[in-house]
């Protein structure tokens, strides 16, 4: 590590401390109002990109750049996630050793319900994501859980997303203070700077969507999870929401948390709720 970086560090920490003290807008106790947050969040993007159709935001970078959109539409004719989709469909209907299938674990047999995930489980008092629910279903039926970042989980969530394509995101926040706290915790995670590069999710996906970060165009935060899971050319493979969150962490030089950590579940809850009304477009293909 060059000596230069410790110099950078010294100035960084000094700047941070100064910034914290002078930040004028530190409000003592905010009343958590998810509905107002969602409205403000959506309006921010609708006003920042007036000529992007509202439902197009779920196409991430392709809603921001015509040349990228053309490349994407060409790929969508025969998308690279085709195999994951077929594998997911087959796995979804293959019974466990005890004869049950995933359909027995999910409302409506797991078909066309992706838009309601993640949901807040009032019994457990925590957010439950689709990936977590799938692994819990496997464990409840005596099967080993899948890795949250590998192909099997991606194939299953790809199929479930596909069955909900076009349905508007419909995340509910029950009248339970723990649900409001999970939403707030997710929002805080989204705006918190981390890693040696000192970026938050918002630094890229709120302040500079549509701009390039080397070869890639940054996706807007609005509807950014609607296309999950995604086939990324960079990984030349499928990626679940968990894989995307963990790789984003390491890109900013922050050590990723464990898969399905509370922070990840809450930020997924926050990002999905503020995208309510926008269509599910998963599985997606991305750079």
């Amino acid at each position: 590590m060059k000596a230069g970086s410790s110099l950078l560090l010294g100035s960084l920490s000094a700047a941070l401390v100064a910034f914290a003290l002078t930040s004028p807008r530190v409000v003592a106790a905010d009343k958590v109002d998810p509905a107002a947050d969602a409205k403000a969040f959506q309006n921010f993007f609708f006003q920042k990109f007036p000529n992007v159709k509202h439902e197009d935001f779920v196409n991430g970078p392709y809603s921001m750049n015509e040349d990228m959109k053309r490349q994407w539409q060409e790929k969508e004719e025969f998308p690279p996630y085709e195999f994951a989709l077929d594998a997911g469909k087959e796995m979804f209907s293959t019974p466990f050793k005890n004869g049950k299938t995933y359909a027995d674990c999910f409302p409506n047999g797991g078909i066309g319900i992706r838009q309601n995930y993640p949901y807040f489980d009032t019994k457990e008092g925590k957010v439950v994501t689709l990936e977590l629910a799938l692994n819990r279903c496997r464990e409840a039926n005596g099967e080993a859980p899948y890795s949250y970042v590998k192909d099997e989980m991606a194939s299953l969530t790809a199929y479930m997303a596909f069955t909900s394509r076009g349905k508007p995101m419909d995340i509910k926040i029950p009248d339970d203070p723990r649900a409001f706290e999970a939403f707030e915790n997710g929002k805080r995670y989204f705006y918190t700077r981390r890693g040696q590069l000192n970026f938050s999710c918002a630094s890229c996906h709120v302040q500079s969507p549509g701009q390039r970060i080397r070869a890639e165009i940054l996706a807007p935060a609005l509807g950014i999870l609607n296309a999950m899971p995604i086939y990324r050319s960079e990984w030349s493979g499928m990626g679940t929401t968990t894989r995307r969150l963990m790789t984003c962490n390491s890109q900013t030089r922050a050590v990723p948390l464990e898969p399905q950590a509370d922070e990840y579940r809450d930020v997924e809850y926050f990002l999905s709720y503020v995208a309510n009304g926008l269509p599910i477009s998963g599985p997606g293909a991305r750079p």
Binding site: D67, M68, R70, Q71, W72, E74, K75, P80, L197, F199, C204, I213, R214, A215, E216, S233, E234, S236, S250, Q251, T252, R253, P287
Partner: protein, 161 residues
Amino acid sequence: MTTHIGPHPTRRLILQGAVTVALIGLGNLPFAPARAAANDKYPEEAFKQKSEADAIKALYGKTAEPSDKVKLDAPEIAENGAVVPVSVTTTLDKVTSISFFVAENPNALAASYKIPDGTMPVVANRLKMAKTTNVVAIVEADGKLFSATKEVKVTVGGCGG
């Protein structure tokens, strides 16, 4: 060939000369059908060539001239070097072969297609590109080679970690 000073060296030399000329001439002949035969066989040699010029020579045995009748469609900036959608279409007729080259890939020749008659001279595929370089499409029409070239920018994405 050792020159042998015999009684009629000049006649012998002339004879030898004639024989070699014939051979060279012949050499072309079997070569031509061989190249035609090569069409069916996998062009191993061409795929081994480093540069695009050598690959074209190994594959077709002649050089190409740029032509605006060959329309090459490739992105300005590749979304990702691993999956670059590239396609070509042409108004030339009697097209028998279409090939794609990525100039600065480890081996220039990426893909080569045989177009039997009755098949349209249009191909779309997805190629890997090692770095920013020229993508070249070659169309063999009525025995002659025509080309179109486009530079595609390739770099990694993200802030790097």
